[in-house]
Symmetry: C2
Amino acid sequence: MLSERQSMILNAIVDDYIRSAEPVGSRSISKRGDVAFSPATIRNEMADLEELGFLEQPHTSAGRIPSNRGYRYYVDHLAPLKPLKAEDLKLFKQLAAEKLSAVEEVVQHAGTILASMTNYTSILLGPEMFNTSLRHFQLLPLNETTAVAIIVTSTGEVENRTVSIPPGLSVSDMEQTVTLLNAKLAGVPMHKLKARLYSEIGQEIQRHAEHYEELMKLLDDSFTSGKDQKVFLSGTTNMLIQPEFRDIGKLKTVLDLLEETPTLTRLLNSDQKGIQVKIGSENVHQAFVNCSLITATYSLDGEAFGTIGILGPTRMEYAKVIGTLDLLSRAMSRALGGRYGA
Amino acid sequence: MLSERQSMILNAIVDDYIRSAEPVGSRSISKRGDVAFSPATIRNEMADLEELGFLEQPHTSAGRIPSNRGYRYYVDHLAPLKPLKAEDLKLFKQLAAEKLSAVEEVVQHAGTILASMTNYTSILLGPEMFNTSLRHFQLLPLNETTAVAIIVTSTGEVENRTVSIPPGLSVSDMEQTVTLLNAKLAGVPMHKLKARLYSEIGQEIQRHAEHYEELMKLLDDSFTSGKDQKVFLSGTTNMLIQPEFRDIGKLKTVLDLLEETPTLTRLLNSDQKGIQVKIGSENVHQAFVNCSLITATYSLDGEAFGTIGILGPTRMEYAKVIGTLDLLSRAMSRALGGRYGA
DNA sequence: GTTTAGCACTCATTTGAATAGAGTGCTAAC
DNA sequence: GTTAGCACTCTATTCAAATGAGTGCTAAAC
């Protein structure tokens, strides 16, 4: 689609612009050395590239900046995968070695590393429990009217919620029911719990216990996952130092969105595994028009999946970020996967 | 200490400056109506107030702005406690009525309300478990080497951490131990758990079980509270709209600090109950010299205590914020205290 | 003695014009 | 096909002048 020379020039412009955040002129490219043509020639090519939609010109007498399309071409065809620095690799190894017991700590830590290595904002989603299964269920009465329902998953995650006990329900009924549930539901995938509850357990309970309806209501409540996927942010203030967000208005739009965890969850979740790059207006959300979002997925014992992402200005160090995310997502899967001997 | 008239003038200046963020001149005060003197008279008093350290002058030909000391006097002697707007009161009632089951949800929600009502940044600390007691303890093996330790407190909070099982420890030993612990430790305050473990339970375990040391290590791990007090932030972007943080550098210092949860916990925690106001340099942390931090405490069933706070520029609507925090902290104590009938 | 009008003075901010400089597009020559 | 040269465009910088808000002081009025 683009000639060899056009590619080279586009590459040079994107590279320069990512470094400097200033429109790139024909002269400075000519001087770089890797494109050995005179400014005039380069100017001609630049005019063509602009016509094709890969470049933009802020005003007549300024250099060119890449358009979204230009970045896209750069990412798809040009961006050289930079090998990471040795010190960065060491951080990854540490992460894998640390054997942090709690999953949340691993994710949190990974987010911090990511933000400090890239100088952008990292957004991480805790593991999606969809694929995990039930390990243990328990109801612990606190007083006459309330109890804590505790659910432990096959990956060792613990979820709890407070439920109210229907008046008149006997303790023994409750205990019996819990025993029954553990016998019947252990190993059942989390997303099938409710269905099983109604299809199999229902009748059984009805035979043994009084207060059938109230009890079912209680159990239904218990199995209603209250928590959304947890969101971890790090390096949000890195946005401040980006010249494109000198404008407080734009900055606020983005930072405001970062406070909306449900929206973030939605934006980061995708069924696709692996690395994904969303450039500028490719992002569905209006607030991200000046941003690029790069995401990768990690897995937890091969069952639960989570997402790690980097948000930065469209003028982002794609090569570096993509490389980092790729390695880190693998490192995380390794750190989280090896937790249970097998 | 200050004459009637000086107080009036100081009050007027602080009021005006809080509204406008611009140095206040003698003329504009004279025109306000509540201080019926000519600009010249007011100028004389202002010069005195400056000499006393209550006012500052950015430069010779500008009006005056309050110094930290000026704000302090305003807060201690002048700030009129504004009654809240009816619509705000309604929000509080809603919070109390909602009966959100999880404590975290209540705290989170309160933070959101606080930030949106005040247009500042809210910082909330989840309940400090210091005063709660153990309700239930459980060890749930995940495989041969790891187990989940689950601790439920008297207020219904659930904590869990992953621990490793010492090789060779029999399942029955473990079960026996857990039963013993529940019998002996139920109702013991959380902060005394470890002491009791060593003083009372130790020998008992030594009699019954093998692997004494490993087992004690496991239990010690289980009782080591991993989580810090949880921090909830809301409205951090409200900092952006404050003119004093037009300077990105200052802004970044503050926002960076807001990402450091351990520091925040330290800054907000104090043994004192009730409302506290820290103005400008009264804050220990360097990053907060241009800020004021107002905090209040809430309680959870009278046992656990947490903190809610508002961070804003020193030029802050003290009256409104103090009033709001006072009411909200009560509303939270009510919402969280009434959870268990009795 | 207290208050106030009047006035000279200070200093940050605004305004506008001139200038500099970076970069382009086009034409003609190589 | 490539490049040197040049006129042209447009932003950013600089600098001086004007503006205006506000003060401090003095002397008069109350």
